[in-house]
């Protein structure tokens, strides 16, 4: 719990955390919808939470690079406790962001028939996936700046082709076969299924995102000094 509080305080101490938690979700609420879909802000939230998770996971990378994790390993603190506390802290911040975003959608798009609970749960599993993905991505690099540079390019393209920034309806079927393997694909897929009333596919999207989280977490949690 001490590590969790410390990680939370450390994350909240950064001004960028306030920006990504409170201001940016409000900014994307007002993006209007296309025909036959939810407001585009709901899809864009995928991009926002992916980058938010990456920025929030910076301390864990810095601690690894500054060899703080080596010193922590010399204490009675278990690595799993250290890692889970940090991840829980980042998840808590992003859940607050998610709640603010859902409240904003609820207040601004009152007249639309939106199942907020499903959107919240879908966003929640997407947040888990984003954090695990950031952890996994960062574990591959020895410099945060290099990692961030490559991530911004890769994540932007990934979000563009997988229906987060560009609607899934405009992407050709042949390309869709390839983009299915991208984890970000499953948020717009779930949202579209929810819009169409296919709850079964919404649940599958939940499951896929959860399994992706598990895979990324397993790879990213490998201790590297």
């Amino acid at each position: 719990m001490i590590i969790f509080k410390h990680a939370l305080k450390r994350s909240l101490a950064q001004p960028i955390s306030i920006l990504i938690t409170l201001i940016l979700p409000i900014g994307i609420i007002f993006v209007p919808p296309l025909a036959n879909s939810y407001p585009n802000g709901i899809y864009l939230y995928g991009l926002l939470s992916l980058f938010s998770a990456f920025i929030l996971s910076k301390p864990i990378v810095e601690e690894r690079l500054n060899k703080i994790t080596v010193r922590i390993s010399a204490t009675p603190t278990k690595y799993i406790s250290y890692l889970s506390s940090h991840l829980m802290a980042y998840t808590s911040i992003l859940v607050v962001q998610n709640i603010i975003f859902i409240l904003g959608i609820y207040l601004y798009w009152k007249d639309l028939n939106i199942n907020y609970w499903y959107i919240f749960s879908l966003n929640f599993v997407y947040i888990l996936m984003s954090i695990a993905f950031s952890l996994c991505w960062n574990s591959l690099f020895k410099s945060y700046n290099l990692s961030f540079g490559l991530f911004s390019g890769f994540a932007s393209i990934m979000c563009l082709v997988s229906g987060v920034t560009m609607p899934l309806q405009v992407i050709p079927e042949e390309i869709k076969k390839f983009i299915v393997v991208l984890p970000t694909y499953w948020l717009p897929y779930g949202l579209n299924s929810l819009h169409d009333g296919n709850i079964k596919y919404v649940l599958i999207a939940h499951l896929v995102l959860l399994i992706y989280s598990g895979i990324f977490l397993l790879i990213g949690s490998k201790r590297r000094y």
Binding site: E173, K176, K177, V180, V181, Y189, Y201, I204, A205, L207, V208, I211, Y212, G214, I215, L218, I219, S221, K222
Partner: protein, 365 residues
Amino acid sequence: MIAKKNFIIGPQIIYSFIMVIQLLILLIIIFHKLLNPMVFLLYLILIFSMVLRWRIKLKPCYMLIDLTFFLLTAAFYPPASIYLFVFAYYFSYKNKLIYTLPLIIVGLIVNEGSYYLLLLQGLLFGTILCHWERESTSNKNIMDHLRQHIYDLELVQSQLLSDYQDTDRISRLTERQRIAEVLHDNLGHELTAAHLSLKAYKSLIQSKQFERANITFSKSEKRLENALHQLKSSVKSIEPNLEIGLLDITNLCDNFIYPVEFVHSGNIFKLEPYIWQLILMSVREALTNITKHARPNKVNISLKITDYSVRMTIENDGIINNPREISGNGLRYMRNRLEAVNGSLSIQRQGTFKLIIFIPFERSK
């Protein structure tokens, strides 16, 4: 010294590599059905299952839970049977061929050529890697055992050397005791008798009995002569032959196949027997190394003994460039023995190959 981490391609790395290939083959097979979320979900579950085993060492029997899940899925959704060959690869690598029995039964039900082919290649690769892994583990164990044995031997050797020093001290004390006994038994009696005779001589002179005094004086003189003679013979019997060590080295040098120039300076009698033993052992090892690894025209051995230390250099000009042979076992053992008595061994390679041995010793004991 920083340990260099060598990257060795072992069976585990090949297993992971082939596992990735197996999953890619599966992806290619299911590619045309990938838009079906169930197909992709099952594929992802399979990846998760394998990543979990890579990350956490779980018993192979737990994989039966995953297999049961896929078998049940295949019962309701037959295309899912194509995923099963990955399990065959996993189980055969883990040497649990019995667990692949349900896969063979499924094969009989499905009865598809591609299924058999995939199953067979999975079993084949898994079994080959399993045997490789077993052999590699066995070799590693043997190597570890040998390393442990060498380490134990080195430890015993250093303890023996330390014990040798202790024994030397004890034998010195015993020798002192023996010398004291010899002096007491042989000299003591004669000197006491001479002392008493001289006292008697003094009394006889004072009482002016000159004739008897002369006889007593002669006896005293004779006893003192006897004492002197016994002292000489005792010293001769006690004195060790310290030149034996030097003679041994000279003999070694004379009988060596290459010409050896041996020079020494300082007082050789200052050296303790165990230091002689070390010097002799080092010279013998160095000369053996020269016969094995060098083609010298001349070998120079220099032994310099000072008040507090002995420094020996063994130099040969027949250097053969093979850096791997510099720190062999012989030199390592030599270094260990020298270090056990606070000595040191250093090597210089500047045109010639020079061993420098330094052994400090206490001035007086």
